[in-house]
Symmetry: C3
Subunit: 272 residues, 3 copies
């Protein structure tokens, strides 16, 4: 697989400091021709599950040969390994803490190496900024065409990530809200196929918090302003949204934090 | 007009999700050589008027042949059209909802096409993310040199945008605050020429909220810290600012939301 | 020194407006081949000391020949000069207000010019946006290989910046918190060498606010969640952090703003 010359970069560093820019400076010092595209740097601090969800969605839209650099690394400087992953189309570089698990899990034979060839790192390695000292140079070398196997020994036991999956119980499809996006849309873990198989041809009744929605919509504006809609989002998962508003503002969801963000779907009968 | 190889990108997607990065991935998959420059992704959700103001200012500073991609699209998936616009120097790609109206309105013969040649889109089109599925690929193709007319039929009735213009009534120049920037500066809709013609050689008295300012200043620091100043801003419109502070914090503007942000200018007599 | 083709860009413009994008448009109109890398645009408005600290750290990681454009410019349009600086490895362009002082101060013979050759500026210069009209074009010309001396006369009296340095008094090492990063880590002005020389081989006791920490740690996770740690950060300065939390939330630091963020280090005896 030829490198595409593109490196994507995702982190929980935020944008107020120089950390993101410093990583890019290190990359450009090794591969001046690479294109660095930000995914997001506002993953909640240390939230490996948020990062894993965002990355498994975003990476699909990048050219073959893209290197995805992801640094959500609460365990920096501890015993956790640094890894690189090669799938059919992409490379991934980051900490071995489950961040890449959804991607590893959906490929038939990803190659994973433990990064231990320090000649491909910076000469001085800090205990607190492996993004700069290990992951950035490795991503840069991969983007310049370095073969994966030169980075370290292959491993077959990467860290997993527990991901709640939707389940069917007592004739209900039970899922949960796994992420709230910029618009306040609630993104659930209920994928298109699971929902379709459950409903067959019947209409859905969706309950989340104190909210109840009948039917799956198509667009954000097909109800009146303030109206709630459930639809299959661009991520491929069921979303709850509010027309010209924010679903996460809805009564019972924000105001009472003890309400677990469970999503319950039942069948209401054949669609008209 | 040769493409400059630059695509600018403006949206209301925010920076917490992968939506912005995904659009860039799609672009690079079609034109790997393009440079993508963010204008802003923090337009208030669905605010077409904010977006239109920002874009009509920013686009002027880009090289000839730049493609301006703008996705503020509350009507995604409804009947609104997708369009591309060509002016003497630039291209624009986005929803036909008035976003490009200030730009269209100031050019003598812009060419506007309705995007309906789906061979230039992604193969699967969602109902909720046309930024990724329609606008990104079209912008990429234009930046690679595709001729506009190949994207769809020309149209002559793009959506307009109602924009409040300053008016003179009872010997007063009446305008309004149309935007508040990062620094808390109030940007009005009073342009340099209208103000100059109104004042002739007299000094201005500017009233906004409970605030009254005499004279038009030149720089942010020509009054004492906390002092208010009105000046002609870099956007070409009159601004109200506070030296080392925020104009939008001023008493009567933030605390009492019912005060309409009207700007009233009167002449106070010949300048000394 | 050959230009690297990279321009870094730091400002206090924020990301809600087009100001950052406009600067990039002007740069690309002069040097279409340059790579523009953001350092941060969220320096607190007008905070020259924050900007100076961030830049003196970040610039070290960029390739030789990089041009660092920094616009934190509360004095725009007043008598302050516009300057460009050349060190052994880099160029710097921005206002002469102390922003570059830590960098100038640590180099043996930096060359500094007063930018007054207006043929290298935009044709129209505003009073309020020199980032767009002066600094952007100058940075672009330098990145394209223009020789520094053509930009204006050399000067030897750039603006300084008062920076509190750590001091030893009554057998205590006294420093202060100079910056709080995205993670809530408190970054102090106590550098590695000063600390090492003070402690010799004894263990440190660090007091900041009502907080007391014994010993210098190595990683963020070597204490229990919520536990406080002091460690030598990636910036090369002592930091106070909280495991899976924010040091700036600690009682006595946020709640009582009148507590000066002094950092007091004493020796507690030989390390075990």
């Amino acid at each position: 697989m030829n490198p595409s010359g593109v490196i994507t970069f995702m982190s929980d560093f935020g944008l107020e400091d120089a950390y993101v820019g410093i990583v890019k400076g290190v990359i450009l010092g090794i591969n001046p021709r690479t294109r660095i595209i930000d995914i997001t740097h506002q993953i909640p601090h240390g939230s490996i599950s948020d990062a894993a969800f965002v990355l498994q969605d975003a990476c699909r839209f990048f050219p073959e040969g893209t290197v995805h650099l992801a640094v959500i690394d609460p365990g920096v400087g501890t015993a956790r390994r640094c890894i690189a992953v090669q799938t059919e189309r992409h490379f991934f570089v980051g900490p071995d803490n489950g961040l890449f698990w959804p991607i590893i899990d959906r490929h038939s034979s990803p190659r994973i190496v433990h990064l231990n060839e320090s000649r491909y790192f910076r000469s001085e390695i800090s205990d607190t900024f492996h993004g700069r000292d290990i992951f950035a140079p490795v991503a840069a070398h991969l983007s310049a065409g370095l073969a994966l196997h030169l980075l370290g020994p292959q491993i077959s036991n990467p860290a997993c990530l527990a991901r709640p999956l939707p389940e069917i119980r007592n004739d209900q499809l039970l899922g949960r809200v796994i992420r709230v996006d910029h618009f306040g849309n609630l993104i659930t873990n209920i994928d298109k196929e699971t929902l379709k198989n459950f409903l067959e041809d019947e209409e859905a009744v969706i309950r989340v918090g104190r909210l109840q929605i009948t039917g799956i919509g198509r667009t954000y504006e097909e109800t009146t302003p303030g109206g709630v809609i459930a639809l299959m989002g661009s991520t491929g998962f069921l979303e709850v949204a509010v027309c010209l508003g924010r679903a996460d503002d809805l009564d019972g969801l924000k105001t009472d934090e003890s309400i677990e963000r469970e999503v319950i779907i039942t069948r209401s009968g054949p669609t008209s």
